[in-house]
């Protein structure tokens, strides 16, 4: 579990994160959403230690990540896996070497054991026969899978995903979302996902934190978000007429009052 308490971060005289408090539980997908410039990337970078917050606490299972020593931080970081927006695969290494890298660095397993583990995780992310390929030979979706495999190869307790669907087609996005959700529940990982993809929000958002201009504007689940009365959140998630109509339909469905003259085909037209 990751607890964020009164987190604040500013750059020069601009405050980017203002007193954000949230709890992200293990075994579920915790999503940080918000429009561009809302502070979600900075928040995630504070969580993984790439930025040092000005004040507040980040508790990894009760241990304060902000005030701990560098050595203690290293121990926590070994329990963190991260999937980057651009995959961040090492260009000069093959898929197998990329995934094996954390094992080489942090374990004393034999080469055969490491290879076995690499193949296990590659199979887990449904990527076979790509071991000897270089990142430049892979599609965007395949790169994301390799990055996910590398992120989970050490069985992390915490998984961070920075816009995992960016640059992917809707179908591949869905596959990546499902994979993240599956590994999260399977290994009981605390997964934090930074996204503005509404499909992901509706599909895998067990906990959603909506950021607006550096503040926590709303929190809840994917079941609650659609019925939220928060004006800013609604402006963000129902940016298109199609989604607004979908919400209307859903609410009518819930109340059992679907008008006979409206259906999904009308909305699409």
């Amino acid at each position: 579990m990751i607890e964020i308490k009164n987190l604040r971060k500013s750059f020069a005289d601009k405050t980017v994160i203002q007193d954000v408090t949230a709890t992200m539980k293990a075994g579920q997908c915790n999503l940080i959403i918000g429009s561009s410039g809302s502070g979600k990337t900075v928040l995630m970078k504070c969580l993984v230690g790439l930025f040092q917050p000005d004040s507040g606490q980040i508790l990894y299972d009760g241990k304060d990540f902000v005030t701990m020593t560098d050595e203690d931080r290293k121990d926590i970081r070994k329990e963190i896996g991260m999937l980057f927006q651009g995959s961040a695969l090492f260009d000069s290494q093959t898929v197998e070497q990329n995934v094996k890298f954390p094992l080489d660095m942090f374990t004393k397993d034999s080469h055969a054991e490491k290879l076995k583990r690499v193949n296990e995780v590659l199979e887990r992310v449904k990527l076979v026969d790509a071991n000897k390929k270089f990142p430049s030979e892979l599609s965007g979706g395949m790169k994301k899978r390799v990055a996910l495999a590398r992120a989970i190869v050490l069985n992390p307790k915490y998984l961070f995903c920075d816009e995992p669907n960016s640059g992917l087609d809707p179908q591949t996005s869905l596959i990546i979302d499902k994979l993240i959700q599956e590994v999260t529940t399977e290994y009981n990982i605390t997964t934090v996902i930074n996204t503005h993809d509404m499909n992901s929000v509706m599909e895998i958002g067990n906990y959603i934190l909506y950021m607006y201009q550096g503040n926590k504007e709303w929190e809840g689940s994917n079941k609650e978000i659609i019925f939220s009365k928060n004006k800013r959140l609604n402006e963000f998630i129902f940016a298109s007429d199609f989604l607004r109509d979908a919400k209307e339909m859903r609410m009518l469905e819930e109340s059992g009052k679907i008008p006979e003259d409206r259906n999904m085909d009308d909305m699409i037209k």
């Binding site: 790439l50 931080r73 970081r77 980057f84 651009g86 961040a88 260009d91 080489d104 942090f106 961070f160």
Partner: protein, 245 residues
């Protein structure tokens, strides 16, 4: 103010390298990869430049020494000292600042921009000691070797040009090589090459490691790294000559 800020960040980067490696075997592998990249990767250009510089030195020295009272073997003596004192260490290192420096800056810059450095940091790896230190150590090991090779090939190039053009035969050249040889000159050349090696590896590493932006900034950082390295090389060359000669 920017120069002091850069100097501070540069020193902080160097200080950050001195930490216990997470896995010595992986650091060793990275060090060996850098040795291969810097040493073997630059071998061809160093050989070509050295041979031609030596050859041109012989021809130009012979062209200038027209006095009948100066024995022809003096040409070899001048070529030897010029190559050992200046051409092999300085010229080779200026070329290496371009070849190796731009490679180091663009490699680290690309890793920074594509978040590979962030990925390593999040894994709990000290990127300064894993990415920067092996490059500097490999430079300190390989560049003096390349400079020594440049000395030998430069003199051999001069000898070859002398005999091919008929300016002086190989026996006379060899005789000149042995005249008034000062072993301290080799020590001086090596002292220069170690200093230059540190500049060639650490300055581009600094510009690459702290690059911000995209592909355009990587190119700018790479160019800046080479320019600053070359200026620092020439400055260090002057200081060392003033101090040690």
């Amino acid at each position: 103010m920017s120069i002091f800020k850069d100097l501070g960040r540069y020193l902080t980067m160097l200080k950050g390298m001195f930490q216990r490696p997470e896995n010595a075997k992986m650091y060793w592998k990275e060090f060996m990869r850098q040795c291969s990249d810097i040493g073997i990767g630059s071998l061809g250009i160093v050989c070509i430049i050295s041979i031609f510089i030596g050859a041109v030195s012989t021809l130009q020295t012979a062209y200038q020494l027209v006095s009948p009272i100066i024995p022809p073997s003096t040409i070899a003596q001048i070529v030897r000292d010029t190559v050992i004192l200046e051409f092999a260490p300085t010229l080779t290192c200026i070329v290496l600042a371009g070849v190796v420096g731009s490679k180091i800056a663009s490699e680290l810059g690309n890793m920074r921009v594509s978040e590979q450095i962030d990925a390593l940091e999040i894994m709990g790896i000290n990127t300064k000691s894993y990415l920067v230190a092996p490059k500097i150590l490999a430079g300190l090991l390989m560049i003096p070797f390349l400079v020594m090779l440049a000395m030998v090939l430069g003199i051999w190039g001069g000898r070859l040009a002398g005999s091919m053009t008929g300016i002086l035969n190989t026996d006379l050249f060899d005789k000149g090589l042995r005249q008034s040889f000062v072993p301290y000159n080799v020590f001086f050349a090596l002292a220069k090459s170690y200093t230059f090696a540190f500049i060639i590896a650490s300055v581009p590493a600094f510009y690459g490691y702290y690059v911000e932006g995209g592909a355009l900034e990587i190119g700018k950082a790479s160019t800046k790294a080479v320019v600053v390295s070359c200026i620092l090389l020439l400055f260090a060359d002057y200081i060392l000559s003033a101090l040690l000669l």
